[in-house]
């Protein structure tokens, strides 16, 4: 009798000793509160879009250099968009920009409109900003796109997991 009890005790002891206390994971926190920065959806002022570091830097560059022609209102008043012909695309215009590859966007930012067979009114920024900044801008453009940007089917660097 005694022996069986001791055995059971030993097993219990071993069990409690080995099983590490594992806590269940908490609910995922609100992405807006975790975001590096946020941007208001241009089409819906109630909706906020979370931005990561890369996109947040793109936002800063956008509001420094691009907002004057690629938005309908600017922090400093009326937009310059109406003074430019043909009218430049709005930067959140997903219908136009989602179809363009990252490489095309990078080229038109860095080399300017005339080099890409578009309006010369888009100046080249290749000597003003670097490749890194251009990628940040593209990340921002992708983040604010409406309708939302879906990365194309052919992956650029990611490897989808085997199912």
């Amino acid at each position: 009798m005694n022996a069986r009890l001791a055995l059971v005790m030993a097993c219990l002891f071993a069990l409690t000793a080995t099983s590490a206390c594992r806590k269940k994971s908490a609910a995922p926190p609100d992405p807006l509160r975790r975001a590096y920065d946020v941007e208001t959806d241009w089409n819906d002022p109630q909706k906020m879009i979370p931005l990561n570091y890369q996109e947040a830097q793109g936002k800063r560059l956008f509001y420094a250099d691009c907002v004057w022609c690629h938005a309908d209102s600017t922090p400093a008043g009326p937009s310059n968009r109406s003074n430019v012909t043909p009218a430049p695309p709005l930067m959140n215009d997903g219908a136009t920009l989602n179809g363009e590859s990252d490489e095309y966007l990078r080229n038109i930012i860095m080399l300017g409109g005339s080099a890409m067979g578009k309006s010369a009114m888009m100046p080249p920024y290749g000597q003003t900003i670097g490749e890194k900044e251009a990628n940040q801008l593209i990340a921002y453009i992708r983040a604010i796109a409406q309708p939302p940007y879906q990365p194309s089917a052919k992956p650029q660097s990611g490897y989808p997991a085997k199912q």
Binding site: A3, R33, Y36, A56, K162
Partner: protein
Amino acid sequence: MAPEEMGKVTQRLRLWFAISSVLFVVVLAISPVKDLRHEWKQYKRAYVRYAESRPDTKRLLADYNPDIDQVWIPEMNVVDRCTTCHQGISKNSLADASVPQPFRAHPPIPHSIVNWGCVICHRGQGPATEVAEAHTTTLAWEQPMLPARFIQGPCGSCHLADRPETPKLNRGRALIDRLHCTGCHRLQNIDRPAMLGPDLSNVGTKVSRAWIYKWLKEPRTIVDADGNTVTNGYLTEEEPRMPFFKLSEDDLRALSGYLSTLRSHPMESSSINAAVLAKWAKNPETVSQGETRFRQMFCSTCHSLAVTRAGETKLIGGNIGPELTKVGSKVNPEWLVGWLRNPAGYLPHTRMPRYGWTDEDLYKVTRYIREQMVDPDLLKGVPALEQASPAEIKRGRELFLEKGCSSCHVIEGVPPQKDFGPDLSALGAKNVSQLDFGQSKIPRTLVSYIQAKLTDPSSVNPSARMPKFNFAAGDLDAITTALLSMTGPPATSALQHQVVPRDTPTFTAAGAFGEVYTRYRCYVCHKFNGYGGDLAPDLSYEGSRAQRAWLISFLKKPQTLRPTLVLRMPEFNMSDKEAATVADYLKMVLQHPAVNPDEANARASTPQLAALGKQLYEVKYQCQSCHTIGSGGGYVGPNLNNAGNWLTPAWMEAWLKNPQALVPGTIEPRRAFTPQEIQALTAYLMTLRHSGPAAAAGRGAQ
């Protein structure tokens, strides 16, 4: 003992021996099993399984190591084992959101994770090997990870200078500066400015006791359509800087009584002929002319006024000076005249320039302010206040010291109190056990402590002397971020080398220019060699940029170069001599070394060259997308209609070559113009003069 009995014992002993052997083996096994079941080992195995489920297994497991991974930075005193579990942190192919944590790659950031580890930015316990101990506060480990929204705080522990990449931190630092937290607290890398709150030595000449009472009770000036004072935070910087002090009725009476007796020196009295005054007073247009003058002087560049449109009250104007919607009901009329004539006569450190008003202008503008910028209900609810009694004055003076007023306000004869509040210069590095939470029920973390203190200081400590500020949610987080960045001096000298210091530029203007510069407070809006405000263009190289004659005419009558600009340079009524002094100084001293005037000025311009420049401007480069010439074009850049009279050819050439070299961060992109194109564009721009296109073309040909 009988042998059969012996056998029984042996059997029992055998049984016991067997059981204890099993027990022994089990106990011995506990340790290896426990070791095998370590949390981090489970993550290690899970990572291998995950990597094997993907096509790039080989690359993912190339640097796999079954033991603890560690980033060790001895010079920063950092041991960081986070990568033991976060094994894909720097693997580009694991960036996708579908990759399960803790294996997902970190989003792109400016520092290499392999070199810097994680805890420098995220805090938490680097050496810990269990999830809970690494991430949260436990009895033995006191630094929890920072909530992600304060992630810019640790940037500021090394980057003492502001970086454009960290807007929240910069906003928090700016708010700490603007709200004069340094009046009471010692803070890291934020110096005490020359003037905090206004000097009160002479406040009795400016406002009545009733107004002081009202202001101390409710330091707010703006009222919305329903008559409620606006207390919605600094989001739009609408709030005055004066915080709420919880003052009893007796305290309010005593302090207002004491302050209303402060009259250290009388205001300059105006000596205008009574007959002339009577004549001006009869003019029915006086008030409307005063309003016109007020607008012409661009007072709104620094001061805001509340405007109610469609039931919504909004402040319009700048925030350098105080909001003025009801100032006519606030200040004494004689004080107002004296102040506008010479602000430094009342407040030596004021940022208000000394305008060259004529007596008649002064009369009209003060009439306008006193009759239009008023609110008859401003002092509603203030009890009848008599002359202050000696007991009230004595008590008021005591209160002034007790409440810490002298940390921000100067009164002649009252010693200033530096470091009235606790030293916060290393608050961001404090452990929870070092904080006094009192009886409050808030979570025991540094972040919740800071936020509770900022929201309502008495919620943590009922006897706190700190006044109450009203912050918008975003600003609360920004200030928290800035406070978290203040982790005290670096722990090691090696760490000192990692710190990017904040530079503190100074600019001293001497001589005749110094007098004009001080009188008109140029530095409030303009920057000179890094020193000054950023509302208006940086003038460090203005001497290279602008022509002398243009500078003089601009100073005499400023015209806006950018049509969309709302806040504009005021008209100071400068004398010819003052304008010439400024122009000469700018031309002599504020020059850019890369702009060589002789070379460009001597270059001959031909009509052909100018025509080529026009062609380049309009067709090849289409500069009209941003600049206006004639009546067409964009308004991102300045209007170029008068470029030939405004800019020097040398500046144009240097600018076209590399605008960012002259003005870092300017919007104008750098283009790859050939030297000939630069000369042609310069020649064209020099033909653009206000006197009409035909005359300009003729002059350009010379």
